[in-house]
Symmetry: C2
Subunit: 119 residues, 2 copies
């Protein structure tokens, strides 16, 4: 049990679209990620996923609309809902999601991360 | 599914030690709370609990030590660990914890909230 400084953890990595685990509880992980560019369309069949924006402005495309999540805002994407995150400028996000979640759902491509580093 | 602005939600209530639900996912709730003064010693037998400090400086006493969590920092209190939050000045926190969690564990006193409002 220790105090975690979010900005300090964000300083430990620079790669995009590669979430890092900063804490685990109740079968869920808290992750940090830096995003830039366009991700792939995907969904998570069994997992709801929370995005909280720490820096920048995150766009998430859904099949029927687009949402913009600014610094200090969050959105919960329910299981089964296809989404595509887009960061025109670099965005820093905190994620809260089940430990078992797969990065790109059942989609596999060059952006897929098989395991998450713990920092 | 909607975008939630954390500061906007914090503006909706003023009472202390009464967490408000701002989102739910995977059997967990995301809550906001304003804290001031000393809470009661308690633990949660089955639930780990995350405190993320949005404003101010939160002290958490444990039986063997004391931790201070400043703005932009977080701590995960594992299940079964007795703790007592203290806020000398008002603190704003975000909590992640299972929806089934009881406010003061098996302790009941005048600070205990039986149900959580959703805002």
């Amino acid at each position: 049990m220790k105090v975690v400084n979010i900005q300090e953890k964000l300083g430990l990595f620079q790669d995009h679209w590669s979430p890092k685990i900063i804490g685990s509880l109740n079968g869920q992980d808290v992750k940090l990620a830096k995003l830039k560019g366009e991700f792939v369309w995907h969904d998570h069949a069994e997992e709801d996923e929370l995005f909280m924006v720490i820096k920048g402005s995150l766009t998430i495309e859904f099949r029927d609309r687009t949402e913009i999540i600014n610094e200090g805002e969050m959105i919960i994407v329910p299981r089964g809902v296809e989404h595509r995150p887009i960061a025109e400028e670099e965005v820093h996000v905190l994620l809260f999601e089940p430990s078992a979640i797969k990065h790109t759902g059942d989609v596999q491509n060059e952006m897929t991360v098989a395991t998450y580093d713990r920092i």
